[in-house]
Symmetry: C2
Subunit: 497 residues, 2 copies
């Protein structure tokens, strides 16, 4: 109104309330004034118009003005001085720096951060499972049962289930894991040795940090599992390749530099899919004992054995407590469940708790409890057995299709385990090129060469067959053939002739 | 039978099958023979009796024997030599070492591992929530709704939900988080900047590893959040204390060694419960800009503000992209949900994916999807508002009870936020002693001194009041009084006089 001097009404000119904006008017006023103050448009020390002036000028109620100014006072932006009205607080700096931020371009990480973010990953394409490695058949999972169990535990969890207790895992789940590992994998363990994690990868990451110091030597399978390699590199380790080929692990009898840690996927080598023969297992255990090394037995895909029974675990072969067993439910249930576990030597299982707590690598208890029910009530093994039969059929069909259509190019390694198949090329072809072409044609593959840290000794494909129905296989494998013909026309002639 | 020589029947003497044991006989035979071979009781090269001899001596069928021996052959323990029957494989070592394992006592970890496992933790007692710090009221959580949403997503998840995609978080959840952060916390962000993690602690752990190198200086609040401190120490940082007391953060105007990272809980300081005044926020932001430091704004408990509105985030106060915002759902939903999030500068949000993947610190997609529904359908904010009202009432009652009964000993810090209350002692008493006595009396407290990395400048208690009904408070606070009277009889006289 007329009594408001030009100078005093100045912030009011900059305010524009929109009654139909949806946000309450006091909120709008508060937000706009805050912006003006922090941008420096209304500098520190400025005296604000009276509440009456605000209300009149902006055609709003006095209560609206009071609510807005109170909030800004609570935030420290305004202060009331007895007898001289409301001012913009002296604490507000003259102007916020508004130039481009120094790190506007590329954020600078630590050396470890650069290493961790530079690790290769196998690309995935949502919606296309064929033939993404490591993908189980999700359509066959009993989600109805699972969601019933989950829902029951979510509803009746009780406070124990929702508190910060049970850092090492839900007691019921640790119990059932210990008993099936003893019975089925001949792992020597009690429930106290089990630590539940947010998946197998979290287990490897946690172990790497606990066991490895900067510069420690790790024997890493070559080719090998990318996630394990990344975990060891992230912990500062120096990797020493343990060569694996069709014939197995080339365990050096008399290693020059004794390893601090040996990483193995003996049940089903990742990515080659072969099983480690007993004498090689014993040879590694001997090296580990002599060098006092840690051994991580990543029992990858051992559940899916298609000829004979699975070999017992290495952990159960020895009384050396430095053999640590790691397992996951990603392949036997579904990847997004994010539940895995570690079998630790007893003293470590107890000591590890602060580390689990402070890395946050422990899994939601309600999921753990539901999984305990799922296993205890028999659903887990029923599902596993059904899938073993299904995958066995699919594997046979897939191998036949590969032979029929891609025989000139691929020489699949027919191990007896696993839900993926490694197929080295018969002649050198750039496997990345094949993978790119396949992706463009809606097919999801991984290049074998990516699993080598050093110069790849083979190129080829890693293919998950478990999640692909036979009909789809019959459609897609011929499509792959056309890609090969395209890339390698020389082979077409040979194939025809 | 009579034709089996004594020597050849020798392993058979050691086998004892139990038809009623439950396990199939071929499995029992296989397991026992394996044990005998691996223990060295049946050495390498030993020729086994014939299948007929086995069957006759043990009174089992030939097929049972064949199944057992086939399995052991597949495991590499037995080998058949043409014309000379089945032998224990030459690869089996003469005897497994059976002495005590070298590391039988205490497993030797890396220096980092020792550090990570040596971090202090606040003890918890399952079943006793009163007055465990940081515990929300679980009885009021709409578990029925939650389990319905969870169950629906678990059932109709589709393959996208169960695959390895969406490493940075479920797209729907990232959307809703970005929009409520913009609206309610004035965080400047798009959904692409959100990374969902397995809780706030996982977020801190991941950031520490990405941003910090060995020896980097971190400004850590003193007293401060144990989990953050552990994460920074685990990443090799050197901690420089940023003193906090009743009056706020003592931000050095001209820091000697510029920090690489500054960690703050400005909405609700952990453990003191105070809110960072604007001028201190601006002062820290100025230091960060000058030193090009990272700032982690851990927006702990800001949702629970009991007087006025919550202050807007620091991230929204500045255009410096090096201010990283971290949030969690542990306090607003329930601790065991294990879901948190980070708001990163845009370029980092994209680059971080391999690190999330390789640390396994990403949360189950089905939980993420259910949470997105829970927020989008309004349940989250309805719950939050109900809890804010409930906790406001409980807070007032609790403060009155503390004043009435424990006034002579405690001087609570009445900040305006948070679901826990810090109460320094008026006179020096050993807070660990009080906590131990309280635990014995069924009361769950944390000693304030534990939150200091250096020499504690105060002792006292940290108490969670949010999860405790008023009736229980009225019962337990007098019980605490008796503990104080017991420990500090001098005070009783003063209190009476």
């Amino acid at each position: 109104m007329g009594t408001v001097s030009n100078q005093l009404s100045y912030p009011l000119d900059l305010v524009a309330l929109r009654p139909k904006n949806g946000a309450p008017l006091h909120r709008q006023l508060c937000d706009q004034l805050r912006e003006l103050i922090l941008e420096g448009a209304v500098p520190a020390g400025t005296r604000l118009p009276s509440i009456r002036a605000f209300a009149g000028e902006l055609a709003i109620s006095r209560n609206t003005v009071i609510a807005a100014l109170d909030q800004l006072a609570a935030e420290g932006l305004l202060e009331s001085r007895r007898g001289s009205g409301t001012h913009v607080s002296a604490a507000v700096p003259v102007a916020q720096p508004s130039g481009p931020a120094p790190a506007g371009a590329r954020a600078e990480l630590s050396r470890r951060g650069e290493l961790m973010t530079a690790q290769p990953r196998v690309r995935t394409f949502p919606g296309r499972t064929a033939f993404h490695p490591g993908t189980p058949e999700l359509a066959e999972f009993p989600f109805k049962t699972w969601s019933r169990l989950l829902s029951r535990r979510a509803r009746f969890g009780g406070e124990d289930l929702f508190g910060y207790h049970y850092i090492s895992g839900h007691p019921e789940l640790r119990d059932v894991i210990a008993s099936f590992l003893s019975a089925m994998r001949r792992v020597r363990c009690s429930p106290e040795q089990i630590v539940v994690t947010t998946g197998g990868q979290a287990a490897l990451d946690l172990l790497a940090r606990l066991l490895l110091a900067e510069g420690d030597t790790v024997w890493m399978e070559e080719p090998g599992y990318l996630g394990a390699r990344a975990a060891f590199l992230g912990a500062g380790a120096r990797l020493s390749p343990l060569t694996v080929d069709r014939d197995g692990w080339r365990v050096p009898a008399d290693p020059k530099s004794p390893p601090r840690l040996i990483y193995l996927t003996p049940s089903c080598q990742h990515p080659l899919g072969i099983t480690m023969p007993l004498e090689q297992r014993l040879a590694v255990l001997e090296v580990a004992r002599a060098a006092n090394s840690w051994v991580i037995e990543d029992d990858f895909d051992g559940e899916y054995t298609f000829r004979g029974q699975p070999l017992p675990s290495m952990q159960g072969l020895t009384d050396n407590p430095r053999v640590i067993y790691v397992g996951t439910f990603s392949k036997t249930l579904f990847p997004a469940i994010r539940l895995g576990f570690i079998v630790l030597p007893p003293d470590l299982a107890d000591r590890i708790k602060p580390a689990i707590s402070n890395t946050g690598q422990f899994a939601p208890l309600v999921l753990q409890a539901a999984l305990a029910d799922f296993i205890e009530q028999g659903y887990f093994f029923r599902h596993l057995n059904r899938m073993r039969r299904l995958y066995g059929r699919r594997r046979a069909v897939f191998l036949t299709l590969l032979d029929d259509h891609l025989g000139p190019w691929l020489a699949p390694i027919d191990g007896r385990t696993g839900i993926q198949l490694a197929a080295p090329f018969r002649a050198p072809i750039d496997d990345h090129a094949v993978v790119d072409r396949a992706a463009a044609a809606g097919i999801n593959l991984a290049p074998l060469s990516v699993y080598f840290a050093g110069k790849p000794s083979m190129s080829g494909l890693l293919m998950g067959y478990a999640g692909v129905a036979e009909g789809e296989m019959r459609l897609l494998v011929p499509r792959l053939k056309r890609i090969f013909e395209d890339i390698d026309p020389r082979m077409v002639d040979e194939a025809i002739s």
